[in-house]
């Protein structure tokens, strides 16, 4: 299969990345060469193979549902590019 420019723009929309129109051609070329490489996998019949979901021979641990941390609002807000005293600030979403 091959990816055309429209498909790439759609995927970029899904990924929330704006794509510079001038770069779409080279991006299309690169992604198609990568997918050509990836599609070697189609040579293999994997109908009877179980997908690998974890490489550890253990299931994920669960912990007690207890609060172990907290009251660190200042620390959390510290790195925000735009904030007020209590909240992250984003462009207006509701009219």
């Amino acid at each position: 299969m091959s990816l055309d420019k429209e498909k790439i723009k759609h995927v970029a929309k899904l990924a929330r990345i704006s794509v510079d129109e001038a770069k779409v051609d080279s991006l299309t070329k690169d992604l198609n060469s990568i997918f050509k490489f990836i599609e070697q996998l189609n040579e293999l019949n994997t109908d009877k193979v179980e997908p690998l979901t974890s490489i550890l021979n253990q299931s994920l641990r669960s912990r007690k549902d207890e609060i172990s941390d907290g009251k660190i609002r200042e620390k959390i807000l510290k790195n925000s590019p735009k904030k007020n005293e209590e909240f992250f600030v984003v462009p207006k979403v509701v009219e």
Partner: protein, 485 residues
């Protein structure tokens, strides 16, 4: 002591213990080296004041009972360090100052070391040449026109140039072992789950693993011992007793079975790599190991599998960079969605964007089965190849990379040729196994070449022992002229 910085970590620790040198003198010597090595571009951030202060504190009240007593260390800028900028080589994090410390670096500091600075790397560890960093490419001390490998290229360059006595990197598809191979240094990717991932900027969570990069195998065992261990904060951390890798290091490998996989070759592989492999086999055989031919039939599918699994996980992990909670935010855009799109477009570099798009596509509705599920099935086959082989052998010997260090700019226009550099390192990540890259020889241009030892899960001690014996009998020495200072 004029040449303390070209010694190994274990020699340096000995000198500190016996008071031949103070921690402060040692730290000053590294700072001087770093200041003279700006051309290599190995550092994103230096923390000299912190290092000098910590060294003085150590000298006033030395505690030599720790694994890394009084030693300054620079680390890859992918490890979050409390109150020290952590960029992951990206514009999108270029102002990010964590309020917490990664478990692995905390382990190093708890063992007596202190931070010297943060080392350049490929953006979000995505790259094999350290050319995707927002902070510019790093130069290999072996030659001013050569890449240091990647993604832990700042780490390999700094180590080989005597800018840090040892360092740590992360390895998702070869990012410790390939740069180690390109710079004539030792690099270990531990078993998945041995070192905590908590506080490391995430790339592909089922593959990422932190590990040591050092000048010798003994140093590697010391660093691994210091950095590893169970961590409640990482849900995939393995809960097991801590091992004393350095104390248990042995060079007797008599009777061990070493597998030689016939699939570890590529078209047009330089003859020198084959010769190097032959040399490695002979050294191990002469030490009493038994060589056994094995087959890992799905090896050629490892890289295509990786380029589905890793971008898929990355696209999900990197969704967090939205310009709201931390990091860079674009000033353009009339609403929230446009702000996200512009932030991510301006904040990420081309390689990262490519991988996010691949990952988004293979996970998108209608394509998941054809790509992601398929890759998870092939991953099972790759793991099974190793499981089958390890019923017959103790460890596997392969070349680390299909070539020596390449020229800056040589592969940047062809992503697939860049990816092919990781062809011998990627299978290990997919199977979650430990692997050690050892400097083993030079090619005809005088550039280092490495051999890789792959072990069973949690069998780090065995590959370290084999590596230790190999190192003693290989006689490899890095010959670096300090052209940059």
């Amino acid at each position: 002591m004029s040449n303390i910085t070209n010694q190994s970590l274990s020699e340096i620790l000995e000198s500190i213990k016996s008071k031949k040198i103070s921690s402060l003198e040692l730290t000053q010597a590294y700072i001087k080296n770093i200041e003279n090595a700006k051309k290599l571009n190995a550092f994103v951030t230096t923390t000299f004041d912190h290092a000098l202060e910590s060294a003085k504190k150590f000298d006033n009240k030395p505690n030599n009972e720790q694994l890394l007593s009084g030693v300054p260390l620079a680390v890859k800028d992918l490890f979050c360090t409390e109150n020290v900028k952590t960029t992951a080589g990206s514009n999108i994090l270029n102002n990010f100052v964590p309020s917490y410390e990664s478990t692995v670096t905390k382990n190093l500091w708890n063992n007596g070391a202190f931070l010297l600075g943060k080392l350049n790397c490929d953006e979000f560890a995505m790259g094999s040449s350290n050319e995707t960093s927002f902070f510019g490419n790093v130069i290999n001390p072996i030659g001013d026109h050569l890449v240091p490998g990647g993604s832990s290229g700042g780490s390999s360059s700094a180590l080989a140039a005597d800018l840090t006595p040892a360092t740590i990197g992360t390895d998702t598809g070869g990012s410790i072992r390939q740069p180690a191979s390109f710079t004539g240094t030792v690099g270990l990717k531990p078993t998945y789950g041995l070192c905590s991932r908590w506080g490391i900027v995430a790339f592909a969570s089922s593959l990422d693993q932190a590990g040591p990069m050092t000048k010798t195998v003994n140093d590697c065992s010391i660093m691994l011992e210091a950095m590893s261990g169970f961590d409640e904060k990482d849900s995939t951390s393995i809960n097991k007793k801590k091992e004393s890798y350095s104390k248990n290091l042995k060079d007797n490998i008599k009777g061990l079975k070493i597998g030689i996989p016939k699939e570890y070759r590529v078209d047009n592989m330089p003859k020198e790599i084959d010769e190097l492999w032959e040399k490695g086999k002979k050294i191990l055989k002469d030490l009493g190991a038994q060589l056994i031919d094995i087959s890992l039939p799905h090896t050629k599918y490892a890289l295509p599998t990786y380029y589905i699994v890793a971008p898929a996980e990355a696209s999900s992990n990197l969704a967090r960079y939205d310009g709201v909670r931390y990091g860079y935010r674009s000033q353009k855009g009339k609403d929230l969605i446009e702000m996200y799109e512009n932030t991510r477009s301006e904040g990420f570099g081309d390689e990262v964007k490519r991988r996010i798009l691949i990952g988004t596509y293979v996970l998108s509705s209608g394509y998941y089965d054809a790509y992601y599920l398929k890759a998870q099935k092939v991953r099972q086959l790759i793991k099974k190849d190793f499981d089958d082989s390890f019923t017959k052998v103790d460890a596997i010997l392969t070349p680390s990379t299909p070539s020596s260090a390449f020229k800056i700019g040589e592969k940047t226009n062809d992503p697939v040729s860049m990816y092919l550099n990781d062809i011998f390192t990627v299978p290990v990540n997919l199977a979650g196994l430990p692997a050690l890259s050892l400097p083993a020889g030079l090619d005809k241009q005088g550039y280092p070449l490495g051999l890789q030892l792959i072990g069973k899960a949690l069998d780090e001690q065995k590959i370290l022992n084999i590596g230790y014996a190999f190192e003693k009998n290989c006689g490899y020495k890095n010959k670096i002229k300090k052209w940059w200072s």
